[in-house]
């Protein structure tokens, strides 16, 4: 009898043993477990444009300059110092010594040249960070010079992005069919950062090990594991149970609910992620600024911030968000004023307006924003149809200008008002490249073009603030709010520093665990 039941018994015993087999990994002091909602597409600085990919790229690579802790200004990282030619057409960087790639080879000027040549040659999204870089010249092993075809004021800031990561030229040995090691670098890293990818099990987990040759302080973790857990409820349970130390992509309602969980800390910081609406400026009646202003007065900003965002947001004040230089703290804000909206529509001679609101589910705020606006507009005699489409479809419709009102969300790639002002308002960038409201005002065009060629930051700031005064008045976009960036972690995790430029990037080299 016992013999026949032995297999069952053994299985049960083994399961029981496993169940109680010591503490879970997440509670090991030298291992950090982060639950991510999505598998990062790639870890290649030359092609990756998602924050999800930056999660891996930032800890694995160093750049010439980096963001200063929580601030959006840059400080030296691989470069020890730099100079700019008076005409602003060349930048020379002196490299610090002692930085080494994860195979022990030194970071030199040739590596810098290799990295930037590669980004340029691949001509994918990251290439747009350096639109005017003409040539990278090796002056000597520790000195490198960038030659620009036109002055590009945000250059230094752009060097701090993922695209500016310095890659070990030896990566080229993994190139197949002239792909510049794209296939290999998609899943491996070859940088001088604190960590390197040691294993990537697709859709399951990514393991980072410390780079033994890292020039900085030895990290506290001997391993950092990113687990891919798509479902929010599952991520939450893992965190609450202590199987994960940190989880990303936490929606506002869940953040609220988790506040009472023991041992869990909610990190909520003002971000530069803005939520707004596109008004189709080239299409009647939105070609009339009065109609655009009317719509701007019909949005219930306070209601959206308090209700939809549960207070985890702040109403915008001009196109450049709070927290970035170029933001105008005195900038004009629209208020919720239906009487004014009605009057403006009457002034514009518009009646019986029937419009559509094109949105997707990519941002959970968009639908409630639309519903609220629909209700407000109904009160002033405007009928608005909600048009829910797939996100890729929404992007296509907006890029083609095939919409009345559409939803938008934006984060800057580098800390410069360029990311908003030159991309949103430049008439040469109409459609997919950024000016999806199809807005054009020669005065604004002039101001932002000047600002791009000016080096002096004070002067640039004034130009951008002047431009915002006009764009606020012209109302090509309904500027809604900037969101907080929310994630949750165990209270045992120490040393996290939030930088609004580095969403989904965790400074794991400086973090530690207390238990």
């Amino acid at each position: 009898m016992l013999l026949r039941r032995l297999p069952t018994f053994a299985a049960f015993a083994a399961l029981t043993a496993l169940t109680f087999a010591g503490p879970s990994w997440a509670t090991d002091k030298d291992v950090l477990v982060i639950d991510k909602a999505e598998d990062p597409p790639t870890a290649d600085p030359g092609v990756e444009v998602s924050n999800n990919g930056y999660t891996l790229i930032f800890p694995a690579y160093e750049r010439l300059v980096k963001y200063d802790g929580a601030k959006t200004e840059v400080i030296p990282e691989l470069a020890e110092s730099w100079t700019t030619a008076p005409d602003n057409l060349s930048w020379t960087f002196k490299l610090a010594s002692g930085h080494m790639f994860d195979d022990g080879s030194p970071v030199d000027a040739a590596a810098v040249k290799y990295s930037f040549d590669r980004v340029k040659k691949l001509a994918a999204g990251p290439g747009d960070m350096f639109p005017t870089v003409k040539d990278v010249v090796i002056v000597d092993p520790q000195t490198v010079k960038f030659e620009l075809s036109a002055p590009f004021a945000p250059f230094l800031s752009a060097l701090a992005t993922s695209a500016g990561s310095i890659i070990n030229p030896k990566a080229q040995e993994h190139a197949v069919n002239g792909d510049d090691a794209k296939a290999w670098l998609a899943e491996h890293t070859a940088g001088s950062g604190a960590f390197k990818i040691s294993a990537w099990e697709r859709n399951q987990q990514i393991t980072l090990d410390p780079n033994p040759h890292y020039a900085g302080k030895k990290p506290a973790f001997k391993q950092v594991i990113f687990k891919i857990v798509r479902e929010m409820s599952s991520r939450r349970l893992q965190l609450e149970n202590g199987d994960a130390d940190l989880i990303d992509q936490v929606p506002v309602d869940q953040a609220e609910a988790m506040k009472s969980s023991a041992g869990v800390v909610i990190e909520s910081n003002p971000s530069l992620y803005v939520v707004y609406l596109y008004l189709n400026n080239k299409k009647a009646p939105f070609d009339n600024p009065k109609v655009r202003q009317a719509i701007s007065y019909a949005a219930d900003y306070k209601g959206l911030v308090d209700g939809v965002m549960q207070g985890q947001a702040e109403q915008m004040r001009g196109a450049v968000p709070d927290g970035m230089w170029g933001h105008d703290p005195q900038g004009m804000q629209y208020t919720y004023d239906l009487e004014k909206a009605k009057q403006l529509l009457a002034d514009a001679g518009v009646s019986n307006l029937h419009i559509s609101f094109t949105y997707s589910q990519a941002d959970s705020a968009w639908e409630p924003v639309g519903l609220a606006l629909q209700a407000s507009l109904a009160e002033i005699g405007v009928t608005m149809d909600m048009k829910n489409v797939a996100d890729t479809t929404k992007r296509e419709l907006v890029a083609k200008g095939d919409y009345d009102i559409a939803t938008g969300a934006w984060t800057p790639d580098f800390a410069d008002p360029f990311m908003f002002m030159n991309i949103w308002f430049d008439p040469t960038k109409m459609g997919a490249p950024g000016n999806r409201a199809f807005y054009e005002n020669p005065k604004v065009t002039d101001l932002i073009t000047q600002a791009l060629a000016t080096v002096d930051q004070k002067k640039r700031e004034q130009l951008y603030i002047d431009a915002q005064k006009i764009t606020n008045e012209d109302a090509p976009y309904v500027l809604l709010f900037q969101k907080n960036d929310i994630f949750a972690m165990r209270s045992s995790v120490k040393g996290y520093v939030y930088n609004p430029m580095l969403i989904q990037v965790y400074n794991i080299a400086d973090m530690s665990k207390s238990e």
Binding site: V47, N203, L237, T392, M419, A432, P433, G434
Partner: protein, 338 residues
């Protein structure tokens, strides 16, 4: 008709099915407005970058030409490259399909192991307490949303009574077994890694049960029904009259015959399981085809969507073929008609 000719005929048909699926999926994928180049190059990409990416991916060519290229690749066994991960689609499918199959097979085995005895007992003790209980289980299985049930079980067995893991295929820190079949249970046994085997088995329990539960009810009802029919048959009564014990009659005579109609059902159930796996995989962070497909659809990753659809339709047709062949072997009458 002989077995061989049936197989040949069906394989020819298979080519047409796959071709049809390829044409339909390709057309639909390319009719949906949406520019994959924009997703890849990002929101802020310049017009030049977009043009470059489109050209690199061949998206600048006319759709008909793109289709011709796709078919040519397909004929040489190449499913193309994923737009999102830049990996060969065939490689991705080879990576994720075994995880889904392992989960699906485990669920099917579980559903059969519970469903068949439960169905038999329901038929024997018709309208008794067992039958009533089985009916409740069936209705619950069919009507309970996978999503809700999965989360409820995680809450119960991972949070409240923490005896089972809530996600993944293997415990963190235990290395996955060296890849041979992609089935962790098989590979770990081959490698002689018992720790990995138990951990994989242990991770399989909850998701497989959630998946099995939906089909459990259907299997139970089916077995019960055909068992009741068979029990009415003359040969069963004869066997009984000849003094064979009740259990011998049921196990040796009635059950095998009652199982024949269930073969089709099991084939269909397996298809259902793979489909249901999409949700189950999401809840349990199971790295299979489900999450791969969801991500691919979200990013309009045409080659990945196409590759998955073609492989899935192939699988479906092959499962059906297997079902029919099993039928023919089990019941010679069908062979005559076939």
């Amino acid at each position: 008709m002989s077995l061989i000719s049936t197989i040949l005929r069906r394989l020819v048909l298979l080519v047409f099915v796959v071709a049809g699926v390829a044409i339909i999926t390709f057309t639909i994928s390319h009719l949906i407005p949406g520019d994959p180049a924009q997703l890849i190059a990002g929101d802020k990409a310049s017009a030049q970058t977009l043009a470059h990416v489109r050209q690199e991916l061949g998206l600048d060519k006319p759709v008909t030409q793109q289709f011709v290229i796709y078919v040519k690749q397909l004929l040489s066994g190449d499913l193309g490259q994923s737009l999102r991960t830049r990996r060969p689609v065939a490689g991705d499918i080879a990576l994720f399909l075994p995880a889904t199959l392992e989960l699906g097979i485990a669920a099917l085995v579980m559903a059969i192991m519970i469903g068949v005895p439960l169905g038999v007992l329901s038929a024997i003790y018709k309208d008794g307490p067992v039958d009533q209980a089985a009916r409740v289980v069936s209705v619950a299985g069919i009507s309970m949303p996978v999503f809700w049930f999965g989360l409820a079980l995680i809450l119960l067995f991972y949070v409240k009574i923490p005896i089972l893991p809530g996600s993944g295929r293997i415990t963190l820190g235990i290395a996955a077994p060296p890849r041979i079949t992609g089935f962790f249970l098989v590979d770990s046994l081959v490698a002689g890694d018992l720790k990995a085997f138990w951990s994989s088995l242990y991770h399989l329990i909850l998701p497989a049960f959630v998946l099995a539960f939906a089909n459990l009810g259907i299997i139970t009802r089916q077995i019960r029904g055909s068992m009741l029919d068979v029990l009415q048959e003359d040969y069963v009564r004869t066997a009984r009259a000849n003094g064979l014990s009740r259990s011998a009659v049921i196990l040796r005579h009635a059950l095998p015959n009652a199982l024949i109609p269930s073969v089709t059902l099991l084939g269909l159930a397996f298809g259902d399981l793979l489909y249901g796996a999409v949700l189950t995989e999401t809840i349990f962070a199971w790295p299979g085809m489900g999450s791969y497909v969801v991500s691919s659809i979200q990013t309009l990753d045409f080659p990945a969507i196409m590759g998955f659809t073609i492989v899935a339709s192939l699988g479906y047709v092959l499962i059906n073929l297997a079902v029919d062949l099993t039928y023919m072997v089990l019941d010679p009458q069908i062979r005559e008609l076939g």
